[in-house]
Amino acid sequence: MLAFIVTFTERFQLVSPKGLMNPFIRFVSELQEVSLLIWRAFVSLFSKPRYFSETIRQMDMIGVGSLPIVLLTGFFTGGVLVLQAFPTLQYYSIQNEAGHSVATSLIRELGPVLCALMVSGRIGAAISAELGSMVVSQQIDAMRALGTDPIRRLVVPRITSLVLLLPLLTVACDILGLIGGGVVASTIYNQDYHVFATSVRVGITTSDLVSGLIKPIFFGLIIGSVGCHKGLSTSGGTAGVGRSTTDAVVIASIWVIIFDFFLSKALQYLLDLGQL
């Protein structure tokens, strides 16, 4: 694929002598490497050895470790949604729909995306920094020299943990968001708590819940694979570790937001989420 692009760009003179297309070629090359990493990790799932204890350790770090920031993010996001939406809804005399409005926004969009962004910042950076440090201190080489495949030992447990736990963290984020919204509605706007709760219950549908659970699976895959790829391709000593960590967070966050758009469109079509 890369060879084809290089030939194509050379033939049609898309590359200047100074290499103006370098970022594009680099992007395609990195996309290819990440895809290969995901494929190798996927294939490794079906054969021994498997590192269950490492997977459990990663689940603890990713799941339990990220819970406080995810819960805080959810609570205050739910609160601010009600804070901003309530006056507008009141203007149109539909303030009783505040719960519905918050639940739809949170469960479909904000819960999965904000949770993924927070986890990307915390875990994506940690994965990249840890693997990058292992590369520059020759620990990855040592691992291979001792007969261990780093993909199986390091990449598979991290991606698996993220794919399994990001949906659960998203659920926790959604629940705290709804509680935050309820607290703001009842304390600041004096809305009866039961009215808010009923609006939430009536407003959300099974499709919303399914959509809100499918997105984090893909986001977990993105955060894990980008973090692992950036970490394992670290070069240039400790400065390189810093660069890889920054790249991992930035790239994973951008991909989460881009993917969210296309996933939303696909899920709208598949789950008939077009109408409120």
Binding site: Q139, G147, D149
Partner: protein, 286 residues
């Protein structure tokens, strides 16, 4: 009475000229972009031999070790380990080959997140060995490198020399037939550096291990080429200088410059070499 043909079938003594080298490079070339790292390298390490690879930093010494482990692939030429051509082996195919090889990294390359015990036990755990056997072997190896007290420490608590020795214990567990030392004495004080050399001598003389010792320090060459290890009746290891009684033939020096081998022979031949670069290197001149 005896069936001669039957005896021939059962007892096969390999003639010395057919003994397969532990490591062999056949016309190996490697370049990173425009920079030639290895230029038509031919080398061979016999069984039980210690080959010292000498040269300045960036001369391609460590690259040879990475090729033997399959961490890098040559652009051309063949790499053979125990007579097996590993040049085109995949990562999965390399795993059994790597089980035969112990590698001592420059800075130890210990796994920071696990204890000394777990670092040394790593290879055996990967092979799913019995827990009692792992415990016995780990303690034996830590005693071999004189670090039995450090068993429960974390790598961060160790000095540079101790980290290297743990690295040696980790490389030697499972009794590999080949051990590769990648500048194990770099940055160490002279007594600790000597301890490293003594460990390499013990492996060479007492355990018949084939090894490659990458270094740029002439002290290491002197130690490895002039001393040998013996075991007394009490089981104590002694180091003696070669002399009239014994002349070491199981250690050779190979010097590299800009990816090429410019010298290959004994330390006596090295000292007598006419090559100006070799002479300057020995004297420590530019």
């Amino acid at each position: 009475m005896f069936d001669d043909n039957k005896i021939e079938d059962t007892i096969k003594i390999e003639p010395f000229w057919e003994i397969v080298p532990a490591i062999e490079f056949q016309d190996v070339c490697l370049a990173y972009d425009d920079k030639i790292v290895l230029d038509h390298i031919d080398l061979s390490v016999r069984r039980g031999e210690c080959k010292i690879i000498l040269g300045r930093s960036g001369g391609g010494k460590s690259t040879i070790i990475r090729l033997i482990l399959g961490l890098l692939k040559p652009d051309s030429g063949r790499v053979l380990v125990d007579g097996e051509d590993i040049t085109d082996y995949t990562e999965v195919e390399m795993m059994p080959i790597r089980q035969k090889i112990g590698m001592v990294f420059q800075e130890g390359a210990l796994f920071d997140s696990i204890s000394v015990y777990e670092n040394v036990a790593y290879r055996l755990r990967e092979q799913e060995r019995d827990e009692a056997e792992i415990d016995r072997e780990v303690r034996r190896m830590l005693e071999f490198v004189d670090l039995a007290d450090a068993v429960d420490k974390m790598p961060i608590e160790l000095s540079g020399g101790m980290r290297r020795r743990v690295g040696i214990a980790r490389a030697l567990i499972g009794d590999p037939s080949i051990v590769l030392f990648d500048e194990p004495t770099a940055g160490l004080d002279p007594p600790t550096a000597r301890t490293m050399c003594e460990l390499a001598i013990k492996l060479r003389d007492l355990q018949d291990v084939s090894s490659i010792f990458v270094t740029h320090e002439m002290n290491n060459v002197t130690n490895l080429c002039s001393e040998y290890a013996t075991v007394s009746e009490k089981g104590e290891v002694h180091f003696e200088k070669e002399g009239d009684k014994l002349c070491l033939i199981n250690t050779e020096v190979l010097m590299m410059r800009n990816g090429q081998i410019i010298f290959n022979g004994t330390d006596e031949q090295l000292q007598a070499s006419d090559n100006q670069y070799v002479k300057r290197f020995i004297k420590g001149e530019r």
